[in-house]
Amino acid sequence: MLPKPHNPDLSDNHGAEPASDRRDAGPRLTRRSFIKGAGAAAAVAGLIGVKPGPAASAVENPPPAGAAERIGPGAETFTLRINGAPRTLTVEPRVTLLGALRDHLGLTGAKLVCDRGACGACTVHLDGAPVTACMILASDARGHEITTIEGLGTPARMAPIQRAFVAEDALQCGFCTPGMTMAIAAALAANPAPTADEIKRAVAGNICRCGAYPHVIRAALAAAKSARGEG
């Protein structure tokens, strides 16, 4: 189990609910209490369909489900494997993987949009599977191979799906694009010859307010085709 937060008023509600009313509000489901209730390892293994990675050291990796580990309440130093390289960071236990990437490691490609796993803009890969980085604590990503949009390709050397996004104009303001791209990249890795319906289901959780969806479908089909050497 994770320790109690050092501040009992700690909330992920971002001040939308006023401090003065908070104490009367009764039990509230925050991301933190949700993840606590589910168990840290279970949150990773059960909810996002990823197996915990092989154990290396106690610091590098979380213990198996059910085993006790205390971290915090202060900042902890640990290492994450991101885009194939180890990255050491010092963060409070409550910092999400998305917060760690953006605010501590300078990887700002993944975006914070809904902050509750409802829009997909923060999608990264954990051991190759797409996950919403706003719903995972950074410490729970230890022992997993994390890939972000920055690891998929660069402007000079884009991955096929990124090239297809540009060619088909599968983006407008571009804020959903990193998450959308990562979701499709994972889907294409799992299914190199998808139908349009399969692509739609793979990105059904990625919201684009500009409405780039028709071109997203085209881009995904084009990328799949070119990866199969038919493009």
């Binding site: 939308a16 975006k111 902050d115 829009c119 884009m158 409405g211």
Partner: protein
């Protein structure tokens, strides 16, 4: 000095010669049949690779050394006096560097700003908000329009009524028109409050150096933010620099320096360190603007042949503590009618303020008017498309109806027998209009560099429409260069002034300034080339990056060679948007066709397909233009089927300020979309480019509403068209 030119203007349905007087500084406007080499070619957007690889630096991604994180405390009460704010505990929290409050203010909606803090991490900033103690004196409030309109209602503002004076437009005599009608129809239609839900929330990063302020801001108008900050801090405008390199959506909600921008700058000054303050999602729903609600009583009548004899709208709508809820635009524009009257009243509520949202007022008005037209068509026994054709004032839209009906197979589909199963199919059509003709103000600078590249510098911003790309395309076209030689440098108040990106202004207002600047630069470059080619500069032409004399095409010079002869570092020329000419047409027409499938057992509506036909003058980039059309339709799907700000009437608090309870359309809700452009050479500027973003959103919701009524044989007159409403309408069908 001015010169008179005769231009061939018009569209595929007909052209005519139009005499236009233009200033000498202007290049001759593009005409019908203009031969382009860059413009009109589907072109992937210039910043696509940065966006697709996560490298595009949005405001939200700006990181500065020593940067603090800001957060805002908001009122839980819809109406209250803030008697006192105690920041002491928050200030004592380790990591908090600055705090401010609005003690003494009156808050008029749940979510209004009360205090703000800056701390060393976003998490600590949120902790600090929880430590702020506020003494509120709650006051009576109104959260629903019918309640607010009662004589004894609690007042939102300290004045006699929550209902503003009516705005009336009238021609002819509606009563007489209804009297002579062969068929009449009257009904009330309602639309809810929709929020913009830009994926990048409002916010800014503010950094001071002495009395100079630099702000990275998620805004649709960098100069408006600059001016607001200059006024707020009593600084000369040149001391404020605003940068918007990339913008994660706006849709009308991001003009001027909002509270979050002012707070970021104030906190940064107090803390002596840069502050980033980007709003959480809930705040974005609550406080940064919305499309007002509407309740529209429509009376409409037509003669036996379908000619409209009267249209009347009596409307009230609410933008919370904001105004501007009118929806008369489509009533006054879309159809020919001699007897026309609209009456609009804004109703104030204790709810978050309205702001402009993609074609303000038009999607609401279009939904009600077009559904009413359909209901009238049924009474008259006239095909719904045919009734629209008979009352259509626009020759461009007449052609668009033809193109759209063919692509949509309107005639076949309208005669197809309805399915006997639970899935009923329906079709609808609606007219669109807009006036994306641009405005004066923008100035551009075109700079040839010694290395053979050209930069276009202009203080506009790319809201996601592809502004960077079309600006470069227009300059490349004028300069006779391949597109890869030209880049657009935008999003910084250090460049010359441009207008905010709203009102479909950007493309029509920036491209003429850019083209004029490019033409001026070309003239300077030709003067530089003339002695090198031994020709008069007026006889030189540049095509594909090669300069030659018309008379002696075998002697030539590449653009790169010429640029190496530039004395000094670069050669620059400016251009401006001159006032629009009286060209061919000052409006733009469109129409959209929608197909739906309604499950009569569940009430669930699925939009299956769309055909959109639009006029946007000269289409610079058909690829990004098509993206805009898709987006306008998909946002219309959201307004039609899902989106509604819900306020608890007992508490006056929004109950769905998230992205799961406030549902946006996703890829599974997206119909098949066919897009057609009817290009019109309008000659109103030197490019004749029109704005597209709003025109393509006006009719989408209406077309869906009409299709649903067609599918189930009964209109659903209230948006969104949720399953419960569809089932209720079926019960009455």
């Amino acid at each position: 000095m001015a010169r008179r030119v005769t231009l061939t203007l018009g569209f595929a349905g007909g052209t005519r010669e139009v005499a236009v007087v233009i200033p000498d500084a202007e290049p001759t406007p593009w005409q019908w049949g203009e031969k382009f080499s860059v413009v009109g070619v589907p072109t992937p957007r210039a910043d696509g690779p940065l966006k697709a690889t996560g490298r595009a630096p949005y405001t939200y991604d700006v990181q500065l050394p020593g940067m603090l994180h800001g957060a805002i405390l908001r009122s839980p009460y819809p109406h209250a006096r803030v008697r006192g704010v105690d920041l002491s505990a928050a200030r004592k929290l380790d990591g908090v560097r600055a705090a401010l409050d609005r003690s003494g203010a009156t808050v008029r909606f749940a979510g209004q700003e009360v205090a703000a803090v800056a701390a060393t991490s976003p998490e600590i900033a949120r902790d600090a908000l929880a430590l702020i103690r506020v003494d509120y004196a709650p006051m009576p409030f109104v959260a629903a329009m019918d309640e607010a309109m009662r004589p004894d209602a609690a007042l939102v503002f300290e004045r006699g009524s929550n209902v503003a004076a009516p705005i009336v437009n009238a021609v002819g005599n509606v009563a007489a028109g209804l009297e002579t009608a062969a068929a009449t129809h009257e009904a009330v239609y309602t639309t809810p409050v929709q929020t913009h839900v830009s994926l990048e929330t409002h916010g800014a990063v503010a950094s001071w150096r002495g009395d100079a302020l630099t702000v990275w801001c998620s805004t649709q108008g960098i100069f408006g933010v600059r001016d607001d900050l200059a006024v707020h801090f009593s600084l000369p405008p040149e001391n404020v620099r605003v940068i918007t390199a990339y913008l994660g959506g706006g849709f009308g909600s991001k003009f001027g320096a909002g509270h979050e921008v002012i707070f970021a700058a104030e906190l940064a000054r107090m803390a002596g360190a840069p502050v980033k303050l980007m709003l959480p999602r809930a705040d974005e729903h609550l406080a940064t603007g919305n499309r007002p609600s509407s309740s529209q009583r429509v009376r409409i009548g037509a003669a036996r042949d379908g000619a409209l004899t009267a249209i009347e709208l009596v409307q009230h709508g609410s933008g919370g503590i904001g105004g501007g809820s009118g929806s008369s635009g489509p009533y006054l524009t879309l159809y020919r009618c001699a007897n026309l009257r609209t009456e609009e009243r804004n109703v104030y509520l204790n709810a978050g303020p309205s702001s402009a949202m993609r074609a303000p007022g038009w999607p609401q008005g279009c939904f009600a008017l077009e559904l009413a037209i359909d209901e009238l068509a049924r009474k008259l026994g006239i095909d719904r498309l045919e009734l629209r054709r008979r009352n259509n004032p626009s020759p461009v839209r007449a052609l668009e109806f033809e193109i759209g009906a063919r692509a949509f197979r309107w005639n076949d589909r309208s005669r197809a027998p309805q399915s006997r199963g639970p899935l009923k199919r329906g079709i609808g059509v609606a007219s669109a209009a807009w006036h994306g003709i641009g405005a004066s103000g923008p100035q551009a600078q075109c700079v040839a560099l010694r290395d053979g590249r050209v930069q276009v510098r202009i203080g506009t911003q790319d809201i996601g429409t592809g502004t960077r790309t079309i600006i470069a395309m227009v300059a490349a076209e004028e300069l006779g260069l391949p597109l890869d030689r030209v880049t657009a440098e935008i999003g910084d108040t250090r460049y010359l002034f441009s207008l905010p990106s709203g009102g479909s202004l950007t493309a029509p207002s920036t491209t003429p300034a850019v083209r004029q600047a490019a033409a001026h630069l070309k003239r300077k470059l030709m003067r530089l080339a003339a002695p090198l080619l031994g020709a008069d500069s007026d006889d030189l032409i540049i095509r594909g990056g090669v300069i030659s004399a018309r008379a002696a095409p075998n002697r030539s010079l590449t653009f790169a060679e010429l640029c190496r002869r530039i004395p000094g570092d670069s050669l620059a020329a400016d251009g401006e948007h001159v006032p629009n000419y009286a060209g061919y047409s000052l409006t733009q027409a469109g129409c959209q066709f929608a197909g739906v499938e309604v499950d009569c057992e569940t009430g669930i509506v699925r939009v299956t397909d769309f055909v959109a036909v639009h006029d946007a003058g000269v289409i610079v980039d058909p690829l990004t233009a098509r993206s805009q059309v898709n987006g306008g339709i998909i946002m219309g799907v959201g307004f039609a089927l899902f989106e509604e700000r819900r306020i608890d009437p007992q508490l006056g608090v929004m109950v769905n300020p998230t992205m799961d309870d406030y549902k946006l359309p996703g890829i599974l809700d997206t119909p098949e979309i066919q897009v057609f452009f009817v290009e019109v050479a309008n000659g109103i500027t030197n490019t004749g480019v029109l704005g597209l973003g709003e025109a393509v959103h006006v009719a989408a919701t209406a077309a869906i509403g009409c299709a649903v009524a067609d599918a189930i044989g009964a209109p659903v007159r209230d948006l969104p068209l949720t399953p419960d409403r569809v089932l209720a309408a079926l019960g009455q069908a």
